[in-house]
Symmetry: C2
Subunit: 467 residues, 2 copies
């Protein structure tokens, strides 16, 4: 792994001058600015860009990308910097294009349940702007990520079991190709068979095929009734088996999240909650009042069959928000268990029937490794994370964490699962991509990459290697 | 439009001999066989392949495709021949690869709600084989199409409003690339962020990027309760406005289908039903008994507000099957209105708020055209068809039908919709693809096509033109 920027020529003066002329103060080569854009939330060493640009409009992005193409400068799209696999590391220097100032909600079509947004809009910002429309956008990675970044990594979160992932909730995109051409993919129609699905090709492409400059997103009606509950279990396995039966019965739960007892401890400390420190499921039910009642009753019976305690209900809206905010803060709560540490996060997802075995195996691996690694999961999808707490300066420990990560991924692949349910490949999982899809499929991905970015300037060193 | 095969060299003897050796009687150059594979259900003139192959396994498909690559022979994947835009026309001759003998259900993972099938399995066959598992596969184009063909055209049908389209229900594919390499895309995990979404790239690619040799499909639990009803309306507009409100309220209807009075007439004649010959909505509700009751009540109230008659319920399972079979036979029922005619089918899909205007506009266009064109629609998705009945030998009438089709598509595009909700581009809608996506996006599609099929041998002349 070589995340440090190799020696490289400085940006040509003509390039810098052209960008400064175009963007004024919205172009910077200041060291502090580059440092801020040289790392995400992963444990990988920083890799700094040579400069940062803050475009305000699609045509500016197109001009920037054209200039980069002319001068052979790598271009890295930067959203909120909350990615977990080194996605925004400038491995070969170049220009970080920070979308934080392209952050307008351009249109809300409440009657069609869609919205058109710029890529720098964050998920919380969008939901705040939807207030009063009776609609919401459900995809919620832990961080308050930008929607452009969420599309680029094919993100999901706690609601995916009911509402799908970014794959399912992006209707159309506008994007700038490697040579500066602007394309539009898709329309506001709910379905289409019109040609290759460029929308789905760009969702999850992590800035390696194009830069997303506008998104048309599916919105969902706010449910008439919502109820949330937590339920403690005697052990992780009982909790997971409750989940498996819930999904197999087709109960349309909106959220069903696993937290092991170490995670609950971390949350209690970090978020000042007083949850019972045992393996827990967090539930949320959406629907009509009767429908929610019915779902909750079914799941409560299943939980009881597996030794679950009585549900503790969060009935008021503020209680619910507090509960889910605590869930979303899990990443930072767990990091706080060991001050100064960084996280190596696993993100496997397996067919639901294999989930109990997969988690049991991971727990045994963690115990054998001697590392601290709380487990949380979007278990309704078969997806869970272990957050391995590492001292980033301890090479031996990092190596042990990598071995543990690899072992967990290998097991998931043996179970016909994926190495990443929602975090993406970035720089950190490129080897696993080959293990998962096979060399021929990755070669096909490489052909697509070369077709759309022949000079290899869009986020180089991510997803597929150059040869 | 030139659908007739241009003069072309005969297949080389070495090629034919190699295929005959590989496949024996499963390779044929017989005129009758080629004629059968030279047309689909569209009105386009026949375009015959030079030969037909019936592979039994993926490695045979790989060998076939490799031989075609060596000898520069076009390859056209053939499912059930039920496509509607000339998808399987052998515009440049070549080899039709008929998947009807690759028709095994390879695995049903009931506990994970997925199935692995060969591409020649039809939708009805799969559901028959799922009998007793408590699961079903919901995607139902009118014809009993092959699942490989349905994936290739990104098909949907009456259940899409609740269960999505083939885009949403294909978890993974195995496919043979243009040079004979075999790739696997995706896994059995419910979600993944692992690299470019090759699954979604191949779904809807109409045999132009690869030949699908295996599909992993999402299954769904059979609903605990099902109820179906029909409801007559004073006019089409009232019916459509009922649909719009139903969707905007977020009622999770499983099916909501519009039939204009001419279509109902056609069905009554063809399927010996005795439906009231007025604009109708066909509904189906899936859920728990209480949930179904609740949905039906809400929709019934909305219908009443728009002048709808009382619901007529199809309570017994046989009645329901009869009703939906009649709906699925609409295409043939309408063709039977005018013996000897062929259908030019429009397939636009628009944002739901525009649906009433879009259909009203289409009705005015039909009236002005002097043509006969019943209207049916998967209106919950914003998708409807007009089936323009034409004498395929009357050039003037065909031209008038094309003008009507174009006018309907143009209006849909103005409304930010798509030229095809579920039928695909094939040969018939290539111009509309450019009108919908713009030249730059289609150029990006062409780059992807060239990257994966540099010699242009996979279903040539479909989706994107070569330059």
């Amino acid at each position: 792994m070589d995340a440090s920027a190799p020696s490289r020529p400085p940006l040509r003066q003509a390039f810098s001058e052209a960008l400064a002329t175009l963007l004024g103060a919205r172009f910077s080569t200041a060291a502090a600015v580059c440092a801020h854009h040289g790392h995400d939330e992963s444990h990988f060493p920083d890799a700094l860009p040579d400069a940062v640009a803050w475009p305000h409009a699609t045509d500016e992005v197109a001009t920037i990308v054209r200039l980069c193409a002319e001068h052979a400068v790598p271009v890295i799209a930067f959203g909120a910097g909350s990615s977990l696999e080194g996605h925004i590391l400038a491995l070969r220097g170049g220009l970080s294009v920070d979308f934080s100032e392209m952050n307008k909600v351009l249109a809300v079509h409440a009657e069609d349940m869609d919205a058109v947004v710029q890529p720098g809009v964050t998920r919380k910002q969008l939901n705040a702007e939807l207030h009063g429309t009776g609609l919401f956008f459900p995809i919620d990675p832990g961080a308050d990520a930008s929607l452009g970044g969420m599309a680029a990594t094919r993100a999901s979160g706690t609601n995916a079991v009911r509402y799908g992932t970014m794959r399912d909730n992006v209707l159309a995109l506008e994007a700038v190709l490697a040579d500066g051409r602007v394309i539009r993919t898709g329309s506001r129609a709910r379905k289409s068979s019109a040609g290759y699905d460029l929308t789905r090709l760009l969702v999850g492409s992590e800035g390696t095929l194009a830069l997303i400059t506008e998104l048309t997103l599916r919105l969902h009606p706010l449910p008439e009734a919502v109820s949330s509950a937590v339920c403690a279990f005697p052990d992780v396995d009982s909790a997971v088996r409750t989940v498996i039966q819930t999904i197999q019965l087709g109960v349309p739960v909106a959220r069903i999240e696993l937290l092991d007892s170490l995670t609950v401890q971390a949350i209690n400390r970090y978020s000042k909650t007083s949850l019972r420190e045992a393996p827990m499921l967090f539930f949320e039910f959406h629907g009509s009042p009767a429908g929610v009642e019915e779902q909750a009753q079914t799941v409560q019976e299943l939980a009881r069959d597996h030794g679950g305690q009585d549900f503790e209900w969060a009935t008021r809206s503020e209680e619910r928000s507090r509960l889910w905010q605590a869930r979303h803060d899990t990443y930072f709560a767990c990091l706080a268990l060991r001050p100064g540490c960084r996280g190596v996060t696993t993100d496997v997802c397996v067919p639901i029937s294999r989930l109990a075995d997969c988690i049991a195996g991971a727990r045994a691996d963690i115990a054998a490794s001697g590392l601290t690694a709380p487990i949380v999961g979007h278990v309704g999808d078969g997806n869970f994370h272990t957050l391995i707490l590492v001292d980033p300066h301890d090479a031996e420990e990092l190596a042990r964490a990598e071995t543990l990560n690899r072992r967990i991924v290998e097991r998931a692949l043996e179970m016909d699962g994926t190495c990443t349910g929602e975090h993406g490949i970035g720089f950190g999982k490129m080897d696993f991509l080959v293990a998962e899809h096979g060399g021929e499929a990755v070669a096909a991905m490489r052909s697509v990459k070369r077709a759309l970015d022949p000079a290899g300037l869009l986020n180089p060193g991510k997803i597929v290697s150059e040869r």
